[in-house]
Subunit: 313 residues, 3 copies
């Protein structure tokens, strides 16, 4: 509908670095229209006759189902490809050959792969559009887009907000990608984590270079009152060599009723899911708990991207 959205036709979605403020606005506009469409009519037929190859080299029920539903709600069909034998040392088929085979059947390919760069390799060999649904410790751009879209939909703006990110900020792929996207907006960051799980240098550098306000703290309670967005992630026991340290800090990074009593009335709690214990189930009925609506926004974002890549947005 805008030049920006038209420019996605035939392209790949590989990294959050592809997006600037204009393209984010355009995609969020389409995604919002998709939401209205689904809420009113359940879907549309704009991708009728189109086929998505949903290629998962590692299981991810949530992401796989979300892309499937997105395609189906637009009238398209899905070829599910799970449990692909994968081993970088086996003599099995190369990724390029698999991709070239699949694009001879399908109109667009979604790929989840344990190795960094796999989606870019797929896109290099494919003539059809490729969407990166997670490539190991690399990127998972549609997750970052749905996270940011959730902020927009829930709070009706992004600029001016204080975003508090909590948990494993060092290894958390979703935190890194969302942070990069947020640099397109005038936001303040508060990064809350144990010392050993702080944001990596490259992401922190990007925040500093862009001139955004930020703080790094290790106590969630001291900053909860400022949060417009509370983005929770899991602190995994496995990350700690000193388990006494883990036991000492783990409860500092949990959202529960007591914590939320100190939070603003108008703010949201987000989580990429799955959660383990870092958000109390008792919060699920709190209107500020946005994590299930966040899942649904994932479907809208993927509907928008599929329509845009296939030239139908």
């Amino acid at each position: 509908m805008t030049t920006t959205i038209d420019s996605f036709a035939g392209e790949d979605i590989l990294s959050v670095n592809q997006f600037d403020r204009a393209s984010l606005d355009a995609i969020f506009g389409i995604a919002h229209e998709m939401r209205v469409l689904v809420e009113r009519f359940g879907g549309a037929e704009m991708l009728q006759g189109k086929i998505l190859a949903n290629l998962f080299y590692e299981p991810s029920t949530r992401t796989s189902s979300s892309f499937t539903a997105a395609m189906q709600r637009l009238g398209g069909q899905v070829i599910p490809i799970n449990n692909v034998q994968y081993s970088s040392v086996s003599k099995g088929e190369s990724l390029p050959d698999t991709i070239r085979t699949l694009e001879s059947y399908a109109d667009v390919i979604v790929i989840r792969h344990p190795e960094v760069g796999a989606a870019a390799t797929a896109a290099y060999y494919a003539e059809k559009p490729v969407i990166n649904a997670g490539d190991g410790v690399g990127e998972h751009p549609t997750q970052a887009l749905l996270d940011l879209f959730t902020v927009q939909e829930e709070l009706e703006k992004i600029g001016g907000l204080t975003v508090v990110m909590v948990g494993d900020l060092r290894y958390g792929r979703t935190v890194h990608s969302l942070t990069k996207l947020l640099l397109n907006y005038n936001v303040s960051f508060v990064f809350v984590s144990p010392d050993i799980l702080r944001l990596p240098a490259d992401v922190l550098d990007a925040v500093q270079t862009s001139g955004h306000s930020y703080r790094q703290v290790d106590d969630l309670h001291s900053v909860i009152g400022e949060a417009d967005v509370l983005y929770m992630t899991r602190v995994q026991r496995e990350r700690f060599t000193d388990l006494a340290e883990y036991d000492r800090v783990k409860d500092f990074f949990v959202a529960d009723k007591e914590l939320m009593a100190q939070a603003k009335e108008k703010m949201i709690i987000m989580h990429p899911l799955p959660r383990v214990g870092e958000i109390s189930y008792a919060l699920d009925d709190d209107p500020r708990a946005a994590y299930f609506r966040q899942m649904r926004n994932g479907m809208y974002i993927r509907m928008a991207l599929l329509a845009a890549l296939l030239g139908k947005a």
Copy 2:
């Protein structure tokens, strides 16, 4: 079409205890219409734009395929979710979170799970309709409905019939559920099993309390002549601690040509399948062998339920 069917819109299907004579009549009426629809036109488009999440925590090709076909024949789409990592002791995602995620994509959820009560838990957390496709040793209500519907379709009535149930009546979930549903009708029961595999006390109590005529015997040949419905189930070797006892009794619970020579001309043989050796392949061409038509009735029942739950029946 009737008030009864309308009342299923938005509801869950968890247990045979939900059904009374009026609701059974209503569902069987819709299921029969579905049969006519499929036989004449292959299907319809009444669930176009609707999505079923088909969530199987344990494999069941028959049930999974039946729900898939039912949804597709009504123009709907299916998200297949198999091989979900499941362990009650793992730190994986909780069932409620999985369900809430899936209902953000889909319009109705079918769940098969190895633990009793899992479907009820799913239904408790879901706003969308949930159908129990088997929860361990708990219930599998659509199986019981398709069994009873088969009697209705094949013999054009249920009241007044003599139903002979054979095999493992102690552990056979399908026998318990079908028996409960049959209590809504004026039928006579004959329960045929080895002593150690007799009907459990609670089911037998229900039969007695309701005042239905019944007998418990251990010899199929002596009662075959009375059967309007012969419902066969598997007697598993694993149930016996005394294998000599197993060897002694196993052939008493097999239907073959010799047995069927003593049966009525108008009666039916049913089996929930899979069978192992308890029905001879030589009977497959006998017009009384209803077990493959029974499979097909499963699709019609599931079409009826999906349409009813989604408010389209």
Copy 3:
């Protein structure tokens, strides 16, 4: 459209022996129309309301996805059935019972099975059409059809061509089937393989009996200049008891830029895929490299067969 195609309605596709010149012409005519349809419109709705049960007892992403896409591009739906527990010694459900169950849900069954004859068994018990998608060392007729269709589409004729088949001609199922189909045309064969991997006696007998010109050689370079069709297959290390022999011969059966410099300008390189090292990646951009277009032709052939079997061609 021709009497020949009409005669496929309701039939099974089990073996290349079912096809003569007239039926090949008819199927290739429909497959070419399918290609035009997909290239212009993406697909059609001629199988709307029809359901394919895609039953894979062993994994084959390529074949499974191709049938799925073929059905979907004609507006039909697919029940995917993978990871079926299979063991000839287990006490699991018999193949006939599985087939009879699936045909009660679906309109056509595709079966891939590790045992020779499994597809024929399935077809014997099924009333609905069955397509053999590979039965162990038996047949894989749709592969042979797509191979031959590729020759027709690429070179616009089959008669008069020289077909050079390379690699493991002894165990290569695709080579045997394609050779049999080619006997319907006036072609010359050159069979290129190590001594221990020559064409088996029965296939060679068929070539001789039919009076076709053929040669057996062990050096690809000496014959490449004659090839109109170069059909490559993998020479597997596992076939050799003498690994020194394997090392000595393996590079004789590889297509690379150097080899192709000696080939005709108008000819094609084919491969059933997956390849390992027998075709250099450097050839992928050579216009003579037809192996990815060959994959796409597989979808067109399967579209043609599905439409024909379901009486819609």
